[in-house]
């Protein structure tokens, strides 16, 4: 019972963090057809900016300021980088973001050093909120939960209920028509790119002190974000949400399962002392999202709710 409750809690939080990260990516892709390899790098920038800002002022200022700064950086990248490269086609854009990811990695190492920085949870939230089955649960995690849900609600409201959201949705599928109607489509693209990066930055601010803040963050989170976006379906925000929650819950629950492959496949003759038989589900947990990715690509290449092939 306790494992189920813990797995649900942790899995939900991890899934929401993943969604925060991948919502920006899927928005950008839907809008511009650009798969932004540098997305996880903006996540890393968000964490580092928050570390620097909260070092000199307070965490709460960093919570608002850091995503904004990352968003501005994103807009700059779009305006002066991506837009120029856009004329050369999708592959050029991909390579551009790929190179950008490496560049941001190195810049972070130069500015903040090659090892992890001590980005701490704010004192206000650094206490155990409740005790469940003998283990304390830190308040900061529940805070993450609330921020993620709030962001989700705000995004949904923005896209579905405001005029700006209407224009963005239209530009998603009919950019030329929207342009003919007099809206400044390049500017919309720039704002959406910036907003996507700001979302990633927010995920960094929240997640950077929950996980660890070091220059390898981007490289470690990057693949999972792509898995979420591909599994959810390119171009679909709802799909990304479902995929993020699925992967978060799957990976977290798998850790609690101690059954080994021999336990499961024993009836087929797999011996419990063989190398393969000894592998437990728990040790396979980090691999499961990628397994899901491969399965999804085989079975349903458009993803859960997507409308485009990868």
């Amino acid at each position: 019972m306790e494992t189920i409750v813990f797995s649900l809690l942790n899995g939900t939080i991890y899934g929401l963090l993943l969604f925060m990260l991948s919502s920006g990516l899927t928005l950008i892709f839907s809008m511009m057809g650009v798969l932004n390899f540098a997305h996880a790098s903006f996540y890393m920038l968000g964490a580092y900016f928050a570390y620097t800002i909260s070092g000199s002022t307070s965490y709460w200022i960093a919570l608002f300021l850091a995503p904004v700064i990352v968003g501005v950086v994103g807009m700059g990248v779009e305006r002066w980088g991506l837009r120029r490269v856009h004329a050369n086609g999708h592959v050029a854009e991909l390579l551009f973001t790929f190179g950008l990811a490496y560049m941001i990695d190195e810049i972070v190492k130069i500015v903040w050093g090659r090892t992890s920085v001590n980005y701490e949870v704010p004192e206000l939230l650094d206490f155990p909120l409740f005790t469940l089955y003998g283990a304390q649960y830190p308040a900061y995690r529940i805070f993450i939960l609330f921020v993620a849900i709030f962001m989700l609600a705000a995004l949904w409201y923005l896209l579905k209920r405001t005029r700006a959201g209407l224009i963005i949705q239209a530009a998603l599928t009919h950019p030329h028509m929207v342009g003919h109607l007099g809206h400044n489509v390049p500017q919309i693209f720039m704002l959406v790119f910036g907003a996507g990066c700001a979302l990633a930055g927010l995920a960094g601010v929240i997640g950077g002190n929950y996980l660890i803040t070091d220059p390898a963050m981007a490289v470690q989170m990057g693949p999972i974000v792509f898995v979420v976006v591909v599994v959810g379906g390119l171009g679909s925000l709802e799909g990304a949400f479902i995929a993020a929650m699925l992967i978060g819950l799957l990976q977290t629950s798998a850790i609690s399962v101690n059954a080994s492959l021999a336990d499961i496949f024993g009836f087929l003759g797999l011996s419990p002392t063989s190398e393969v038989g000894e592998i437990t589900i728990a040790s396979m947990a980090p691999m499961l999202p990628f397994l899901l990715l491969v399965l999804m690509l085989i079975v349903r290449p458009t993803g859960l709710m997507g409308d485009r092939e990868v």
Partner: protein, 411 residues
């Protein structure tokens, strides 16, 4: 000038330059992670070796040559380490230092064996300061490899001796990194516990991916639900710090018996929760009684490198043993130095270190310590430091382990 004369002149100049360059510096390659999740472990050791080299150089160097420690970042990847090893050998380096990651050490031992077999006269030596999988001085032992840290079985001897005296511990949970070292630690724990305290139940044996887990909460929650009275782990680097962080967040206060609880940030993460909870077994701690010289060294290290604490005592031991062996052999070449190192003893600050000739495994006393406020030297720029526990001094004979090594030696 004619072509022949220019060529002759160029050749003469380059030979002169070559001999001039190799006269004064003895380069040693330090191949370890200097960036990435394990970067702080590598960096802390790197500066320890550099400081040790500086002191030796101040005292006249090694047979007149000045030691220079050259860093090569391997990001804990065996493949990358082999690339860096080749780079080092190509620059003429004959001494390799490595420690963080038994996976890397295994690759290096193999590569060094092959290189030395194929290049007689150009041999290199491998000084292993931290990769403690027992195999390296047993089945995989090699004349070219010297280990300056007590291996996993020896450290586990110290830990299980301590557990054996604690009647209140009935259930033990094992958690480790999923590679050759983590498996060795788990195996040692299981066999030694069943020998010394057969009544203890091992309620969990978990292996997690190396340097990949960012959040240990699910693992800690598993440990809590298993009702363990103590946790044994060989985790190091970010894996140790994050495990301890998760344990602190969950308020888990059973003894965590570790090899590397002294990893950067672990004590600061646990804070008060570490006192009498986090234990480590090491070859020495800064708060043991020692000579004034040693205290001065500890303070110098802290002053020079404020982000780190004096932890890699074996780096200093290793370089001093190397220095003494080279002086005894009267040469800086690998084979004479290796022969002089076999059976060498060194009066270290925390006990006598002997390099056992049979398997090139250093024998030294081990110390079990826990965290306390009431100490002279703290760690992690916090208010806590490591303090010897009662009965925590394990003499070299008790820590010693048998070896199955059958070493092939050059004449």
């Amino acid at each position: 000038m004619t072509l022949k004369k220019t060529a002759a002149l160029a050749a003469a100049v380059s030979v002169a330059a070559l001999s001039a360059a190799s006269a004064d510096t003895l380069k040693m390659a330090f191949i370890d992670p200097l960036s990435g999740p394990m970067g702080t472990s590598g960096e802390a050791a790197y500066v320890s070796f550099q400081l040790a080299a500086e002191h030796i150089n101040e005292n006249g160097g090694v047979n007149g040559d000045m030691i220079e420690i050259v860093g090569y970042d391997n990001k804990v990847s065996p493949q990358e380490s082999l690339v860096q090893l080749q780079k080092a050998i190509d620059s003429g380096i004959r001494y390799i230092i490595q420690g963080n990651g038994s996976s890397v050490a295994a690759a290096i031992i193999d590569a060094v064996n092959k290189h030395n077999a194929r290049n007689p006269g150009d041999e290199v030596l491998f000084f292993n300061y931290a990769a403690v999988t027992p195999d390296f001085t047993n089945e995989m032992c090699s004349f070219w490899h010297f280990r300056f840290d007590a291996h996993a079985d020896m450290k586990m001897n110290a830990i299980t001796d301590w557990i054996a005296k604690r009647d209140d511990i009935k259930k033990v949970y094992l958690i480790g990194q999923d590679y050759i070292f983590g498996e060795a630690v788990a195996a040692a724990a299981e066999s030694q516990l069943s020998e010394k305290r057969p009544d203890i139940e091992i309620v969990g044996n978990e292996l997690h991916p190396l340097a990949k887990v960012k959040d240990f909460t699910p693992y800690v929650q598993k440990i809590i639900s298993s009702d363990a009275d103590a946790v044994i782990t060989g985790n190091w680097g970010s894996d140790m710090t994050l495990l301890v962080k998760a344990a602190a967040d969950a308020g888990h206060d059973v003894p965590y018996l570790t090899f590397y609880g002294g990893s950067l940030g672990a004590v600061a993460a646990l804070g008060d929760g570490a006192v009498d909870t986090l234990y480590q077994v090491t070859e020495g701690i800064t708060n043991l009684d020692a000579s004034d010289e040693q205290y001065a060294l500890i303070e110098e290290y802290k002053e020079r490198f404020p982000d780190y604490d004096y932890y890699y005592h074996r780096a200093f031991v290793a370089l001093h043993m190397f220095d003494e062996a080279a002086e005894r052999a009267g040469s800086n070449d690998p084979i004479p130095v290796a022969k002089a190192l076999e059976g060498a003893t060194y009066e270290g600050a925390y006990g006598t270190v002997t390099m056992r000739a049979e398997d090139h495994q250093a024998q030294q006393p081990l110390y079990i310590s826990t965290v306390s406020r009431d100490v002279k030297y703290t760690v992690d720029n916090s208010e806590w430091g490591w303090k010897l526990v009662e009965g925590g001094e394990i003499p070299a004979e008790a820590a010693m382990a048998e070896t199955t090594c059958e070493m092939e030696r050059p004449e």
